[in-house]
Symmetry: C2
Amino acid sequence: MDSTDKKILYLLKQNARMPLTEMSKIIHLSVPAVSERIRKMEESGIITKYEVRIDRDKLNYKLLAFIFVNIETTKDIEPFRETMAMLPAVLECHHLAGEYDYLLKVVCLDTQDLEQFISSELKSIHGVQKTNTIITLSSIKEEINQ
Amino acid sequence: MDSTDKKILYLLKQNARMPLTEMSKIIHLSVPAVSERIRKMEESGIITKYEVRIDRDKLNYKLLAFIFVNIETTKDIEPFRETMAMLPAVLECHHLAGEYDYLLKVVCLDTQDLEQFISSELKSIHGVQKTNTIITLSSIKEEINQ
DNA sequence: TATGAAAAATCTAGGTG
DNA sequence: CACCTAGATTTTTCATA
């Protein structure tokens, strides 16, 4: 990972579908050289995925919330994690140090949909004890990488 | 946005660099038809960006933390937001309803780096009052879309 | 890492239901 | 309007130096 690799990553962060020919011109390196550097970063696991970002608002998912969750016993943890991985409304699920066990980042259509999610989906999972929901008013920044 | 568009989005979510020819075979539609549908989703703003996901661990950013922040007065808000947008360690910054004003998602090298961030970067911003930091032990899931 | 030929992917035009 | 086919153009891959 030298400075040229960093430049390539920077370009891919801006537009993962940028053609190699275009990157090649910006980086001042031949197309096969750029291609080989990308291949190596994929192979070494530095680049894990190419993703598309979709406007949630346009698809009517107007509500973003963070939910803290406590799990009763250790045997309830694995089923909980599996359910979180499965639920499409759950964008993120982090295991925490501190008062709460997990933090979820959840998208919903509206408050009604969120209520439904918390009571029907989340609280119905065995072992889910206390939850604490925080509503997001707006997002100043939302990136996946530095 | 019909079911075909949803299938295309699903494929792009898995791999934003998937060639149109490959998508065309899976969707059972000609290449120009797939291309046109993608163009329209870009134009209408449903697709906002193509991004690359980088393994933070591989670049030694081993620590992920969530930081709640309170801002003293309304006139301090705008400079705070601008700083958040600028700082590369801050991946996300959400304006919240409730006890705290903002929630940050922050990546750091280690606890020392985090301490440095909180004391030198965050608390040095005018108006930043109370902060509450929660360390992530592990992440079960981290998606940008449903 | 660069070059250039071959292969693959994309774009464009013109046409159909 | 969404789709197709076919030819032109661009991009990517691969072999070689």
